[in-house]
Symmetry: D2
Amino acid sequence: MAEKGKDNDGKPAEQRNLVYGNYLQLEKILGAQARESEKHGRPAHDEHLFIVVHQAYELWFKQMIWELDSITGILETRDYREVRDNKMRLILSRGDRIKEILKVVVQQVSIVETIEPLDFVDFRQIINFFAYVLFTFRDWLFPASGFESLQFRLLENKLGIRKEDRVKEYRFTPVNADDAGKLSNSEKQKSLLQLVQTWLENTFDNEAGGSFWTCYEDRIKQRLSGIKDESKRRATKEMFDNILDEAKHDELLNKGKRKLSHRALKGALMITYKRDELKFQEAYKFLRMLVDIDELLYKWRWNHVMMVQRMLGDKPGTGGGGYKYLRSTVCDSDNYKVFLDLFNIATFLIPTDVIYPPNIDATYVKALSA
Amino acid sequence: MAEKGKDNDGKPAEQRNLVYGNYLQLEKILGAQARESEKHGRPAHDEHLFIVVHQAYELWFKQMIWELDSITGILETRDYREVRDNKMRLILSRGDRIKEILKVVVQQVSIVETIEPLDFVDFRQIINFFAYVLFTFRDWLFPASGFESLQFRLLENKLGIRKEDRVKEYRFTPVNADDAGKLSNSEKQKSLLQLVQTWLENTFDNEAGGSFWTCYEDRIKQRLSGIKDESKRRATKEMFDNILDEAKHDELLNKGKRKLSHRALKGALMITYKRDELKFQEAYKFLRMLVDIDELLYKWRWNHVMMVQRMLGDKPGTGGGGYKYLRSTVCDSDNYKVFLDLFNIATFLIPTDVIYPPNIDATYVKALSA
Amino acid sequence: MAEKGKDNDGKPAEQRNLVYGNYLQLEKILGAQARESEKHGRPAHDEHLFIVVHQAYELWFKQMIWELDSITGILETRDYREVRDNKMRLILSRGDRIKEILKVVVQQVSIVETIEPLDFVDFRQIINFFAYVLFTFRDWLFPASGFESLQFRLLENKLGIRKEDRVKEYRFTPVNADDAGKLSNSEKQKSLLQLVQTWLENTFDNEAGGSFWTCYEDRIKQRLSGIKDESKRRATKEMFDNILDEAKHDELLNKGKRKLSHRALKGALMITYKRDELKFQEAYKFLRMLVDIDELLYKWRWNHVMMVQRMLGDKPGTGGGGYKYLRSTVCDSDNYKVFLDLFNIATFLIPTDVIYPPNIDATYVKALSA
Amino acid sequence: MAEKGKDNDGKPAEQRNLVYGNYLQLEKILGAQARESEKHGRPAHDEHLFIVVHQAYELWFKQMIWELDSITGILETRDYREVRDNKMRLILSRGDRIKEILKVVVQQVSIVETIEPLDFVDFRQIINFFAYVLFTFRDWLFPASGFESLQFRLLENKLGIRKEDRVKEYRFTPVNADDAGKLSNSEKQKSLLQLVQTWLENTFDNEAGGSFWTCYEDRIKQRLSGIKDESKRRATKEMFDNILDEAKHDELLNKGKRKLSHRALKGALMITYKRDELKFQEAYKFLRMLVDIDELLYKWRWNHVMMVQRMLGDKPGTGGGGYKYLRSTVCDSDNYKVFLDLFNIATFLIPTDVIYPPNIDATYVKALSA
């Protein structure tokens, strides 16, 4: 029970609350909201939300980078077998955490959307004026945090988005040497994509990948021989050549239509088919988790595009590109899908048991050789 | 307390449960799941989910049509003033319900995504075979419920998507006379877009829209005259001509870049600026609600696109178009945004008080005339 | 296009990014994560998440207080009619924002739940040790942020939770004079509950509340006279006496079973029945919004309770009370429902048209007088 | 391209749409919504939603039972090692699906809440009258689907809720022999709880559980000996006796405070500590998934409780028990947590490395022996 002079657990108040407030450094967190509109004598209520929601985003970006760095750290320092046998649970645990954070980050866009266009126009104009010497109608691309935020750029780089994947028109320029250093490192460090590629290649090499591949190739040949319609067979063959033929794969790789090396993609296919073997159960889920992360990031980009359209409208000829840039990152291509090959892996899947299906209509078998 | 031989409220068991099970006609609802794969001797576990999730979608489509019909019913039978003064609460209540259903419908895609590509490949092949005479690699466009479902087509038509908005390659063909009748009616009936347009035009005509417009035009002219930079002024003028000049608006209307008549759009702008007048408070929220519905439908389309990509992959040359069709409905244009003009209304907004801002830095005023 | 030496909109990099990073004061926000476990040489990975998620909560508490203060500010300074006719849209807009934030806050609990019990045990022990002189098994009630956080306490007070509503065992003791001042003010200021009560009383007084009430009383009497079963009539009468009889209401008020004055509750009932009158449409939605906010806070408390149970378990005899305290705030009573009367308003609703139902089975009318 | 007379993939319209509509048996699904209020001449708009949302719930209950039966089927027919080494991925996949469905089911409550109390009162009264001979004020406990729905009862039983766990006042009485048969089977069949218990016992027996337990016991003894404060040591000892002492555990088991056998709980603890061993990685996640399912069901019950309160209010003396029953299932106890022991497992966790912590402050070690 609470004793006189103390509370809660019997500890002196100062000790308890001192820890909470100091531990979380709330004097910094809660002392960081200063409205520009207020500084210039025209306080806009909604600017407070604008500031806070971006600060919340930055906290979550930092947390996701923290988790991602721990995953790449493991992949970089442990060999493929140790990862597979002892580290997958931890990697998946950290990755699931990134997913949960992304779900909240996606949901957060609904909070930004409570800023109504007319209110946004009012305070944006104030900011615009005081931030720049010239007073114009240019959009101040505040909502385009995708290319204002250093941390978001670091997150993208650490996942595996490369210079050649990016929409070219907007270079992100760091503001000081410290930021420039971080940005440069994130481009030089091994990304998650690269480390996953290495791990998949090692898995393929070490887990009888060759015999799996031979079997896979044979089954495709059999299916093709069962297709009588000439044009359909050609089309199907062409599609599978894109995975069977390493040269064709590398061609697509150079165009940015594939992201993993051929050997790594073969490793991913092998793990997919052998997903119920004890040693591959977690690895299989790791591959699916990478796609989940890509998908959640795309959902966030998409929600962001629509929110920007609602807030800024569709102004032709501004030259500013928040909306145009953001929309192109989701619509023009799949360039921003880091694990595109895993996203598309269904393209290369054939049913697990096709050649001699058991317990089946005779007509089914007959059709196979039709 | 429960009496002997009875339960719950003291009513005979038959009376109570009879009502529940019969009332919900559960013998129909729960007796409608028959797997094709099972009929043909190769039962696939995941097919049950596939069936149930589409049935759940169809229940929600029916419910959304039910609510939408009640909204259009009110707009069609009541004059503009009665709608504004006595029916808006009800209309907004029904619309908010559509929003809540759409949020669940968006969330439901996560359930479909628990079907893993390899499992989907297995049962899809079975379905493909038994559904068609020829056995091929063609996608059976099941996940593309966007153009298999009559109800979804009805919903789109009743909202206001028109033939000319649609991606041309895939016509939806009803399967029987009854469905053909419903489809035809949904194309002939007044859509929500058309009824909203009429209501906005009436509002503009009856609520001193003319004097609002004169004021709006004047303020834009003043802002333009305050822009010294020649090219910037031209660009800004061009942008606002697209709203001030009815001929330019109609040009965009014919190209499908605008959806409302000029008069209706002016009505929407007036309501936006006068959102705090008692008679316009709910009307303003009605306009925002229409954008929310559009946005939620787009989120669902987007989630659907990504789910289809994950499940089917990216097969070039199939001719089948589920993924291609779905992606084009969200990425190629804003054609599927029914209330596009309201979505973009921020394009036409200028700050509420600009000409003589009170309590402001002298430099700000000076810049206005720079 | 991006010019040499510049980027994005042609502005020098420093000006652009300087604004973003400085504007959001990221050096504070991102410089506030220091793990205790690391300071003492035993860095625990999950402690970073622990810190960040609480900081995110505190940002959102601050934002909700910001919005809430603006709502109470309007209610306090404007008369009832101005609020009803010109300020409701704004009040509802701010309240909807609080709802959207609460939905994200509820969702955030899923992120905390990615900290697995075994990992939490490890770093909590480290914190426990270094925070306190004595090393014991006592829970350090970190997850019980409901009574560590000053801001959450302010939020509760500003909504309208009063000392007598609170579970008594845990007093929140502010750590310094500044916090003590804020806490004291939040207890002295008019809460949202009090201001809503005043506004509802004024509405009742000014909008012919008396004749509404006479009508309501009459209809209840008629219904009662139509109930032949003696005990049922007595039970029903007793239930309605609790709303018709002011003395009975005040009795419940004193026990904490009611929160609003009798006159205010009558005002709420009147607005509910007259929800389609132009002047009451937004007011009706305001009342429902207050219940939504209460409900979302309860969902957050509930999710929090379960998360604490999962992380700490159910340790009898610790004396510490995070789990026990949190659970009692949701389970023992409805004390923490600020707008309890609005939550329960269905208790007092009778159908809108009962006495002479049109177009109905004769048996129905007959039963009314049975 | 679409050929004349055909569409989409070139298949005749009938073949394509015939499959969709017939495959999903939409004539049943969409032909099952008949409003009682309409049958009796007083059509209530919201009754349609009421019907549809319950039908959607029933579809999802059926789907969850489908997945659950497949999980128990595997656990029942395969030995512990095969489950652990080859079936865990599949079990987890099915369980994750149940989780995703539960998240949508929890979200669906928001749709029901769009029915406003006053509208619910109106149509409920109509239903009440026509469903029963006597016209009274009794609640028709429709929203209390928790005890109207056979399938929900089956789901609870199949998870592992037992007669003795249930709140006693409301017996569910099946309406016909078929339902009675299903209910009876669900009570006789091995539940998930029982099968998990067997599997955990087998794991403990076969995976050197004994030596793990000896180690665990020793570490606890050491910790206890390090606590100098007499009363704290006694309290801590008492807490751990509840897990170390089988007799004490069984005592709690008989009172319903524990759900698993002692041996099974020991197995769960072992798996938790050995979560990074290849053979236990998926098993560990299986245990956490069971808690996730319990937690989601509790969230649904809680949202349901609050929704019923909002819709029906708090009517003293009705005798009807929807609200009272539902609230008791979540608040009075943890009886409805099937995997309560796993929920509470943090109670029994001690840090992984405590006795000789490496790289640590000398003061920390010293305190251990203080």
